[in-house]
């Protein structure tokens, strides 16, 4: 029998606000434990929350970027349950009036894992969202041998929960969804969405059913995934586990599972019997606010999104659709490209340099585009030197290596090292004559109809010129001379 998997994701995104959701404590990852706390985020008796309006705007911005409907009123509710990482034993969240509803994320080819990009089942698939709501993050527990420590620095960080429809049908689509979503969040400047810092966390709801069955199968949740590739592997494991179970006639029960990344397995955490009654009710400490007043401001903050950027790159800079995709995948890279391509005669060549030499050099040096030693305008200068024939491509690579290592500008390096391309026709002709007469056998072979020796002869010209001859001109002249 064939089975289909339906996966819905609940993605938690920490917003990049300066201060916490309901107090003025700074949001900072990696600070000394319990140094960014106050009576409010510690839930001390008598402390009261005050809404962070920037968090509100960022959530609305996310909603606008994802095509959501924005609720006219922002209202907060209390979600009641006891846990030591939650100082008030209730979480301020949104229950029946999430800030955003509907909307979708489209899955671009390049958002899929590299090994899966050739076999995309539904190209340009749209994954629809149920809702996006805003809440406060809980503290972080650290389990020691005989005790547990709690770091409240994270408590009260603004957290967006994005819930999808169960429309994701494979681990690869889940991977592509998270990658696409992450890209958009970074584009909007609402989160750095770094999973290893816990800025993006994900719970997956998975159900498997025979292909012909209408309606969803039994929902099983995997909690607290902390990497996109982990989500892919966990889903692959869990979907297969559920199919195997169904095939052996086992009845699946609604349950919550965890993911053991090292073992590559999911494990049972709790069954439905322990389901909470959260007793949501409107938080009387927070007065609902209308969103209309901030909508205009937020609308002006909606950036060009990856999809539009890709299309524009193809149109404006004549780069290939693939290159546009790779460039737009990373906002910093896209910005670098645009800064470098701005003044370029052939922006496509700039793209090539970025995507090949620069990317290789960066990964070789363990750097990212954010700490690239070559500023974009300097790369543009280099590409222009090559495109205008002042230096050869090969020389360009030498100059590039020097630029990358020292941060010097191309013109300075060229001047310093006396690098220039020999494009003087008579000088190259003289070199060609010298090479032909020194290599009569190769010349004869070529004349007899064997093409291969031409490259050898060209190499000799380059050697003789100490690499300075324009290789294209040298080739042309040699050919003309030998054919005449």
């Amino acid at each position: 029998m064939k089975y289909v998997a339906a996966v819905g994701l609940e993605v938690h995104v920490q917003l990049k606000t300066r201060s916490k959701m309901f107090c003025a404590c700074p949001v900072e990852f990696g600070a000394e434990p319990n140094t960014h706390t106050c009576p409010v985020c510690l839930g001390l008796p008598g402390a009261l929350p005050v809404m962070n309006h920037e968090a509100l705007r960022m959530t609305v911005l996310t909603g606008l970027m994802l095509g959501c409907d924005i609720a006219p009123i922002c209202k907060f509710d209390r979600k009641n349950y006891f846990y030591p990482d939650m100082p008030k034993n209730y979480q301020i969240s949104q229950y029946d009036m999430p800030l955003c509803t509907n909307g979708s994320v489209s899955l671009h080819d390049l958002a899929y894992p590299k090994d899966a990009q050739k076999n995309i089942v539904t190209p340009d698939k749209e994954v629809h969202l149920v809702r996006i709501h805003l809440e406060e993050d809980v503290a972080k527990s650290f389990h020691f041998e005989n005790s547990t420590g709690i770091d409240f620095n994270r408590a009260g960080t603004p957290l967006m929960e994005i819930v999808t429809q169960p429309e994701i049908n494979s681990p690869e689509e889940a991977f592509a969804f998270l990658t696409s979503l992450k890209q958009i969040l970074i584009y909007g400047g609402v989160s750095d969405a770094e999973m290893e810092k816990g800025q993006l966390r994900c719970d997956c709801n998975i159900s498997v059913r025979p292909e012909k069955q209408a309606g969803l199968g039994v929902k099983i949740e995997i909690k607290n995934m902390n990497s996109i590739s982990g989500v892919r592997r966990a889903l692959a494991y869990e979907i297969q586990r559920q199919i195997s179970a169904l095939e052996t006639g086992e009845k699946l029960e609604q349950e919550t599972r965890g993911w053991d990344d090292a073992a590559g397995e999911t494990f049972l955490m709790r069954t439905k019997e322990f389901a909470h009654d959260y007793r949501y009710f409107p938080d009387p400490d927070l007065v609902p606010v209308t969103t209309e007043v901030l909508l205009a401001d937020v609308r002006s903050r909606v950036p060009e999104l990856p999809k539009a950027k890709r299309a524009r790159f193809v149109q404006q800079y004549q780069v290939s659709a693939y290159d546009a995709g790779v460039l737009a995948n990373d906002l910093v890279l896209a910005r670098y490209f645009e800064a470098a391509a701005k003044g370029a005669k052939k922006p496509k060549n700039v793209a090539n340099w970025i995507l090949n030499d620069l990317q290789n050099a960066l990964s070789g040096a363990g750097k990212t585009i954010s700490d690239c030693p070559i500023p974009p305008e300097a790369l543009d200068e280099l590409v222009n030197l090559i495109d205008s024939g002042k230096i050869s491509g090969k020389q360009g690579k030498e100059v590039f290596a020097e630029m990358f290592a020292t941060g010097k500008r191309a013109a300075a390096i060229v001047k310093e090292k006396g690098i220039k391309q020999l494009s003087d026709l008579s000088a190259i002709e003289a070199l060609c004559d010298e090479v032909i007469s020194a290599n009569p056998k190769a010349a004869a072979d070529f004349k007899a109809g064997n093409v291969a020796p031409l490259n050898f002869l060209k190499g000799q010209v380059m050697k003789l010129s100490k690499g300075k001859a324009n290789p294209q001109l040298a080739g042309e002249i040699l050919e003309r001379k030998l054919k005449s």
Partner: protein, 492 residues
């Protein structure tokens, strides 16, 4: 004026003595400390005192400030940095507030000196202060009677001359009712008029901080200091604050006072009814016009109040779990056992009863029938008031249906206790302001027990009810009477 005469004074009287340098803030504190030593052994109004810190503040006090050098007692549910904040609960044992409530900052900015924390029903849940998890507070008029509650400590302190004025909190009548039962003045401001930041929440949508004082003028003076917008409390109102003391002197001609027919019901003690009838006649004689009005949803107020207040309380009190501060059980088996036993051992019976009730009304399957329906009725109650305030400038009623009662008299039946709030809790549901001022005595077993008159005002119309209360007070002699325990020392 000798040191032993000082405790009998009100704030307004103190101010002139302080400003004329006839007495220093330190002498004032000294006199108060001596009086507390004598009287509070019997009354039991205070949970903690810090005269050392208060003395330091007194030394630097600027008596020209509105409340410069005036010691003020604080209900022990309002955070004062460095001081315990027990909420009269075992569960907050050992906790000291690391920060100041906004009202404390405002009092200090006005020159006042917080020096002690007063007893209350645990987490302000109760009407007699009998639910204190720490000690008993007695009514200064009759030590076998309760002082009312939940701000019973603050009321008893003011009534026994061990405080010149105090802050209390009112969620369903907890300032006005003890003020009535101890013969002093108690004002519950409009919801949002005074910041709740630093007030340990019982029912967030109902709680308000307000003054308990010997005179209406003193209440106005404290209001001048504590009222106003606070960016740290989202529910506080950003509206200008009038000078309540300056606005006091105003005659009552043309003022329309509404008499809600639903408030003159059976169950009111006949002596209370007589006193209120007389007070109404007196107000009429001062020029006020008396109009009959109706608040048709009054009968639901107590039920609505106990659903909404307990629902909010069930979440507000969830944080008391022994994880970060306060009482913690010993050797729990696991996390659940830790929570269960900490809260079982830390909370008293009334608090537990309300947490369970509140948890129940919010539970899946019951939410619509209780919480949601109660919210709808709350809206109807609010509308009742806005309608009658089209016809009347303020409303009159008894503050409490009964004068102070004996210890234990109402504890066996929580419903009996809850009914002492029937005239007060509607004001909290509607978010309006209210004041209690003494209007007579009941004679019970040859003992005199004060009776309180309640005036309810429109939202943000504190100035008006203060004016009416002031006119009533200044034209009657009730406020001049003092509790026997204080009287013996006044005349000693």
């Amino acid at each position: 004026m000798t040191a032993k005469d000082l405790p009998a004074l009100g704030i307004a009287e103190l101010q002139s003595l302080l400003r004329q340098r006839e007495v220093s803030p330190r002498e004032l504190l000294e006199a108060l400390r001596d009086r507390i030593e004598i009287v509070d052994r019997e009354v039991g109004a205070y949970l903690s005192l810090d005269f050392e810190a208060a003395d330091k503040e007194a030394e630097k006090a600027n008596v020209d400030l509105p409340l410069g050098g005036v010691p003020i007692a604080i209900k022990d549910i309002i955070s004062v940095a460095g001081q315990p904040c027990t909420c009269a609960s075992k569960i907050l044992r050992g906790y000291r507030a690391p920060y100041n409530a906004t009202v404390i900052g405002k009092l200090r900015a006005a020159g006042a000196i917080p020096f002690g924390k007063t007893n209350l029903d645990e987490f302000a849940m109760g009407s007699s202060t009998e639910n204190s998890g720490i000690k008993l507070t007695r009514n200064p008029w009759e030590l076998s009677c309760v002082p009312g509650g939940s701000s019973g400590g603050s009321a008893a302190a003011v009534a026994s001359d061990t405080a010149f004025g105090a802050l209390g909190t009112d969620t369903g009548g907890s300032i006005r009712q003890p003020a009535a039962l101890t013969g002093i003045v108690g004002l519950k401001p409009t919801y949002g008029r005074v910041s709740r930041f630093g007030l340990v929440a019982f029912a967030s949508s109902l709680d308000q901080i307000g003054p308990l004082t010997k005179t209406v003028r003193d209440a106005a003076l404290i209001m001048n200091a504590i009222a106003g917008h606070d960016p740290q409390d989202s529910t506080s109102l950003d509206e200008p604050v009038p000078d309540y003391a300056v606005a006091l002197d105003h005659d009552l001609r043309g003022v329309k006072l509404g008499l809600p027919k639903e408030y003159m019901v059976e169950g009111i003690d006949p002596q209370v009814k007589t006193a209120i009838d007389a007070a109404v006649k007196h107000l009429n004689s001062l020029g006020a016009e008396i109009v009959d009005v109706s608040l048709p949803h009054t009968e639901y107020a107590t039920a609505v109040y106990y659903i909404l207040a307990t629902a909010e309380a069930s979440a507000n009190l969830a944080r008391f779990d022994g994880v970060r501060y306060g009482y913690r059980t010993e050797n729990p088996k696991d996390l659940l056992d830790h929570y269960g036993r900490t809260r079982e051992e830390g909370f008293g019976p009334e608090v537990k009863r309300r947490i369970i009730l509140g948890t129940y009304v919010l539970s899946s399957g019951y939410y619509d029938a209780y919480y949601l329906r109660a919210q709808k009725v709350r809206e109807l109650i609010r509308q009742d008031f806005s309608k009658v305030f089209e016809k009347a400038d303020a409303l009159i009623s008894p503050t409490s249906p009964v004068p102070a009662f004996k210890f234990g008299e109402r504890t066996a039946d929580p419903l009996q206790m809850y009914l002492t709030d029937i005239f007060t809790c509607s004001a909290n549901l509607a978010g309006i302001c209210g004041i209690s001022v003494q209007c007579g005595f009941a004679e019970i077993d040859e003992k005199r027990l004060p009776i309180g008159l309640q005036l309810l005002g429109k939202p943000l119309d504190e100035a008006r009810i203060l004016q009416i209360a002031h006119a009533f007070e200044q034209s009657t002699e009730w406020h001049k009477a003092c509790a026997p325990i204080a009287a013996t020392l006044r005349n000693a």
